[in-house]
Symmetry: C2
Subunit: 367 residues, 2 copies
């Protein structure tokens, strides 16, 4: 395909960057963003980097009414040498296109998407915070913008990438969370959109999350929507259980999101010769393992927290305290290894990191 | 509560109105729209009628990422006397608040919402088309606008009402449609958001709709997400079957939208002493009735088409031709009665219609 040039329009004044210690998640955005438009006639066109600014969208645009949208989430990290790097961005763009397919959104060129992100990050490199555990969160997303109230796939879209410097997920080091098994609400079901990273899955999760937060839980553990027996995900992370020396994570059954961190954990475990199985696992099985003392660890895995140990799991009237409520050795080892690779402090035997080339950016930026 | 004044800012020039014969669904919008904002500090505030215009929304606004949105759909009709009227708007606003509850969106004052719509319609009255079967479609909707990427209920919203003149759903009178039973995809499931009118339910339906459209079907018939046996809805309508003189419609089980037309059909049938049951009904049961000759009629019911007779129903390798593929007597009677009441051509024994008072609008508009 033809080489596409990303037009750049730079802002005249830069925003003040927040102190590392003040950083939260997803509240502050950088000076620029990437946009590309789609129409049936032109395909994806007019890729550009512009000052971060409000979108001007017709009130009848489909995204406001029928939720036709997808997104991704990944991070850029600064290495000890001062380079910017990404972690497995090709996985995110591959998943984005699978989400697109489920939501009837035209696919984007994955290589070009990664190139666009690299160019944007090179431009915004001094927005990547450097304090321990901080990073630059990258949010690519696609929204349907056709001004039409018919229930049908939109014929106009915008692909946008915004960047947000984020603080350490664990302010005081990796820490176990309390979660509650959700019996009333479900996140999604096989045949629905659970495999796709689309707004509706998150909208449907808010109520359960709000209800358990009132009772002091950080997240919910989702069960399957059919039998309400099998474990699916925890909050917006994938979930793993270490039972009697073996690690089990729910198999990708059509309603579970295929996490990049999930995939990386599976690869690391195999690399370490720790048995790992992807299969259906019921809450009953986890409870039995807990009762007979073989439930050794449980943890969530996702881009935001990387590894989130589960210290306590509430199920009906039972309260399962896992590994004395402390971070398990395997959780810690996975966390240290993954963050080590992400921040360039460790070897990368799998070729997961992608350096951001910022050598040409000043030239391009001055065009 | 305090009396709230709706501030009005009128546009300087009016758009040209489309010819009645050119009207489609949801593509043309009137000169003005209603907006009201929400913040945790101020609650719902600043209700205003302004020129129809693009919304300026931060790219990090939650609606673009986590699909936290709800909507409604109703119509304004012109009576033979030239009055504008609504059909059961209190049902729509009541449902809007139930959707709000499921999606963690703060409730709106239902009476005030109806008042706002009336004021907007009074102002736009000459946009209501008068040709047979045409009407003014009213789309109230709420979107989450907080600029924050955390997965949590937004703390900022916009409630907006836009209006679109729409053509007759049936250009050549009421006409049966061909539908296909959907076996692969599901719309939603009990415990999900099926009862709520929220974008995600529609986003998840697009793929199935697109697939069957290629095979010449107008809509899909959704089965339940648990057993894939019981009938839920047809496309974005509720569905009814007349079997051996009795009418059956799926009971509201938590994953079915409670349609205003569905409710009105149930009331009319009772009024006419035609037996009607709300209960679980399987595709197997419908097929059995078809085979033994007792499946007399099937139809969808919703605001857009009012009554949509089902002439043909494809299920696995079977092709059920219902009532010789023609509009049944009951479908016709329901359609004539409902549209007769909606357009003010028939008596309204149930007190369903609400007149739009436009006596003060010119005074208000000139403020």
């Amino acid at each position: 395909m033809e080489e596409r040039t990303i037009h750049m329009e730079l802002c005249s004044s830069r925003k003040q960057k927040p102190e590392s210690s003040q950083l939260e998640f997803g509240k502050v955005f950088t000076d620029h963003m990437f946009i590309m438009d789609y129409s049936d006639e032109l395909g994806w066109h007019d890729p550009r980097i512009v000052p971060y600014q409000p979108l001007s969208i017709d009130p009848s645009a489909m995204v406001f009414h029928y939720g036709q949208s997808v997104f991704e989430g990944l991070k850029a990290y600064i290495t000890p040498e001062g380079d910017a790097q990404l972690f497995r961005p090709e996985k995110n763009f591959h998943r984005l296109n699978r989400s697109n397919q489920r939501l009837c959104i035209p696919p984007i060129d994955e290589e070009f998407g990664i190139k666009a992100i690299q160019q944007l990050i090179a431009l915004e490199k001094d927005w990547i915070p450097t304090a321990e555990g901080t990073s630059l969160y990258i949010r690519p997303f696609i929204i349907s913008t056709e001004p039409y109230l018919g229930v049908a796939p939109s014929r106009h879209y915008k692909f946008i990438v915004i960047l947000s410097p984020v603080g350490a997920y664990y302010k005081e080091g990796i820490n176990p969370i309390k979660i509650a098994v959700e019996n009333q609400y479900v996140r999604t079901v096989v045949g629905g959109t659970g495999e796709a990273k689309t707004g509706g899955n998150y909208a449907s999760s808010l109520k359960a999350q709000e209800d358990v937060a009132k009772k002091g839980f950080a997240q919910v553990l989702w069960l399957d929507g059919v039998e309400r027996k099998y474990i699916e995900e925890v909050g917006s992370m994938n979930v793993f259980f270490k039972i009697n020396g073996e690690v089990v994570t729910p198999a990708l059954n059509g309603s579970i999101l295929e996490g990049v961190t999930r995939n990386s954990v599976n690869q690391l475990l195999k690399h370490w010769n720790i048995p790992v199985e992807e299969r259906a696992i019921s809450m009953e099985e986890v409870y039995e393992a807990y009762k007979n003392g073989t439930l050794e660890e449980a943890f969530g895995a996702g881009t935001a927290a990387v590894i989130s140990p589960i210290g306590q799991l509430a199920w009906n009237d039972e309260d399962l305290v896992i590994n004395n409520g402390e971070t398990g050795d395997l959780s810690k080892r996975l966390y240290d290894t993954l963050t080590g690779i992400q921040y360039g402090r460790r070897d990368d035997p799998f070729g997961w990191v992608v350096k951001v080339d910022d050598s040409n950016i000043h030239l391009k930026a001055s065009v």
